[in-house]
Amino acid sequence: MIEAVDLQKTFGRVHALSGVSFAVPPGQVTGLLGSNGAGKSTTIRIITGYTSPNAGWVRVGGVLASRDPIRVRRSIGYLPESAPTYGEMPVQSLLSFRASLHGLHGKARKQAVCQAIDSCGLQAVRRRRVGQLSKGYKQRVGLATAILHDPPVLVLDEPSNGLDPGQITETRSLIRRLAEGRTVLVSSHILPEIERTCDRVVMLARGRLCAEGDLKTLLAGGEHELVAEARFRTPASSSEALARARAIEGVDRVLPRAMDGGVARWRVEFDPASIDEAELRRTIGALLASVGAEVRLLERERASLEQLFLRLMEQGPETQADDAEPGSKA
């Protein structure tokens, strides 16, 4: 488990982090999101011990990073962004060297290197120099160095960077597999990838926490909206239905969008205190049937992570947490 509490970091006059607090529970994959300059890399660098916060603290597996940094670093497997490494070294030698840094020697080191090579599909390039490998393979080497010592905590910065679609799928499966019994924090710009890989998300904006929580809950609980899609026989029937929908009690707004073939798509925003979602769905269904429209879709609007991300970035750093975990407020 990773706990970050009230992290603050300044670079000169720039406040990279201003009181960021969040938790990454074990056995789950947590995504760290934010636009450029939001403070993701600084947060990751503080967790991994590369840099120290000006204020606040980080605890990894119950150990305070400021009190026992070596022990904390031993428990973390880290893949930095763009997987920097020693280009002049053959893959196997590099992994062997990295294993030595983690205190693995002799048989244990050989075994760890072989396992990491197998897990990351590096058999074909194990004797080649890292600098001669493709970006995708370099990324895999970075992943292999991160999992080499079987750490309980994995911190992966842009793990899908430079990978082809097949490799992205493989990496996703690998991360999901590695997450079993581990604490995994993944930072990525590829939002659909985060949506597929992560159970939880932590979003940063301008150095502050703007959302933290279970991904499904965040996506489902963001808006009280229904989406209706129907084919109307005439434009007049469409206009009539729209006017009647807007008049339904509890409906705040209906935003129509014309599509091909006489199909219209409505986004219906409603006040859950005034009308129940199921009742609204029944009312709109009956309304559309009464004007002879063919209903194609009538369901709760589910925002994509991209939509949620953009909305929160626009709103700025005001905490939205789905649960009351310690340290969930900025």
Binding site: F11, Y50, I76, P84, G87, F97, L101, H102, H105
Partner: protein
């Protein structure tokens, strides 16, 4: 024991890396070439005494560009490529890291000196009577001590910048000022400062070794200063974490 093993692993990687990059071979060739040239010019002269003293006496000036060329990539290159992030987030203390890097460069320096041993063999073969081995051993010890001291200064410079060029120039300039101040500068300095400069004079101490005299005080001088610069390098690495 664990720290020693880790430092040894870092030293081994650093030593091997210097042979994997052109700059390593270039430095090796340059040093062997400089020694070879001076050997032919000043030692392999008919009627001249059979001794390597001219080489050992100028060792400080010869080492001036060589040591910074070896040390410039130790941390600067890692900082430039970003691989420093990997070792800095490994479970390795900053002092162990600095010692490992320094030891790797030191091993390379020893390899460089081993490359000059054929000159000793040639001298032994062509000299009659045989030259005294004692001053030669003392001379090699002095060059080793001098080399590692210069490397430690270069190590410190490389922790301060991500630019290998700046690291090289910074270390060379610092060493040049040191040598100049403790030789030519000493005679012009006020008495109190001249005494301090005399204490820090490297060339004076090398002369003793060149004569075949190993003074414990001279050895301690090199060891303590080297240790100080390695320690300062580790402090710089720790300070980096707070920036």
């Amino acid at each position: 024991m664990r720290s020693f093993r880790v430092a040894w692993a870092i030293a081994g990687r650093e030593f091997a890396a210097l042979f994997r990059v052109p700059v390593g071979w270039l430095v090796l060739a340059l040093y062997a070439g400089l020694w070879g040239g001076m050997f032919v010019q000043f030692v392999l002269v008919p009627g001249a005494p059979a001794t390597l003293r001219p080489l050992f006496a100028t060792a400080a000036w010869l080492m001036l560009p060589i040591a910074p060329a070896i040390s410039m990539r130790l941390f600067s290159d890692e900082l430039r490529t970003g691989s420093y992030e990997l070792i800095a987030t490994s479970p390795v203390g900053d002092l162990v890291l600095a010692i490992g890097k320094f030891a790797g460069a030191g091993l390379f320096l020893l390899a460089m000196l081993v490359a000059t041993l054929p000159l000793v063999v040639v001298l032994l073969m062509v000299s009659d009577p045989m030259p005294d081995i004692g001053p030669m051993l003392a001379g090699y010890l002095s060059v080793s001590l001098l080399g590692v001291l210069f490397l430690s200064v270069g190590l410190l410079a490389s922790t301060l910048t991500a630019s290998q060029t700046l690291s090289f120039l910074g270390a060379m300039l610092a060493l040049f000022v040191w040598l100049l101040a403790t030789t030519a500068g000493r005679s012009r300095a006020p008495e109190g400062i001249a005494e301090v400069l005399a204490l820090l004079a490297i060339t004076d101490r090398l002369e003793g070794f060149a004569k075949g005299v190993i003074d414990t005080g001279d050895v301690v001088f090199f060891v303590v200063l080297t240790g100080w610069f390695v320690l300062a390098s580790s402090v710089c690495l720790s300070v980096r974490r707070w920036l």
